[in-house]
Amino acid sequence: MTKKDVFVLQDILLSNAQAAAAIRLELESRGILAVNLLSSPGAGKTTLLEALADRFKGRARMAVIEGDIETERDAERVRAKGVPAWQITTGGACHLEAKMIGKVLPGVPTDIEFLFIENVGNLVCPAGYDLGERLRVVLLSTPEGDDKPKKYPQAFVTAHVLILSKADLRPHLRFDVEKARAEALALNPRLAVFIISAVTGEGLDDLAAYLFRAREEIASRA
């Protein structure tokens, strides 16, 4: 019997990282922009997707993968907008993993420009898992309070885009938009910040323009 030390020095989530890299390669070689949406439950991820579906109609094709612990509800809402949608029910798991996306992907049409992945509503665990996305978007809705970035730093540090949602409720709340923006930018100076309301349409044109530019960048490299 021999004692042996094996130095591995590898990512604990190596198998997730490998699955995510394969997904990214496949999607981007087809010129598809993949967006991973993160937020706490009820911040407006599905409502944003419904609003984007209306904005994209006739201009671009999109598909949606929905992650929830239970029910097909979010996928049904998106399908009602004429957008193909797949529902992953995790049955209790608090986040999506790349392998779950990999299982759904063969059924997703190849002639789309945008693939949105709506993660399980949770501002903690999903931040640790690369799903093969190009853009990670975190939503913070005004009723949640402007103090969240520093309370849930990993989500804000790893995101590319911050969306302050439900902006139409500002008159009724003490949410300080500038405070939330400054706190998020302190953690991640490269964040692109959008203030939106799916009800009034505020900020949606700017967000859509940003997504189209990001997708063109991918298409030019594909």
Binding site: T2, K3, F7, Q10, G128
Partner: protein, 121 residues
């Protein structure tokens, strides 16, 4: 609460390495968990202890190194540990920084007992 999922992923590598090295048992596992890796060390340890039962790592001791959140300034080269995760240089106030520690989620070392002959000294 995704610590069990991390442990399951870690065991894929542990079992694979045990097979490659003809391990009789795994006695120790050393990992690095960065301050901003989104992992609760106590929960990870509980998940590890639950998961290892009945495996080749049944008696393995889990050792955790916890690198603090450390950033390096691209403008002046200054390195700072920040417990508030703010990306600003404490020397020159630049916000152009890179994270050099704190995001780690790394399996560093596996200690095992094998039936292989010891390496020639």
């Amino acid at each position: 609460m995704h610590e069990l999922s991390l442990v399951a992923s870690m065991f894929e590598t542990l079992l694979e390495q045990a097979r490659v090295h003809n391990a009789r048992r795994i006695t120790g596992v050393k990992i690095q968990i960065g301050a901003l890796a989104g992992v609760v060390p106590d929960l990870l340890e509980s998940a590890f202890d639950a998961y290892k039962k009945g495996t080749i790592a049944e008696d393995a001791v889990l050792t955790m190194v916890k690198p603090p959140f450390t950033i390096r300034c691209r403008a002046c080269g200054h390195e700072t540990v920040r417990t508030d995760f703010v990306m600003a240089c404490t020397n020159c106030a630049s916000v152009d920084l890179e994270i050099i520690h704190g995001m780690e989620l790394i399996l560093e070392k596996i200690e095992m007992e094998t039936d292989d002959a010891p390496p020639p000294s």
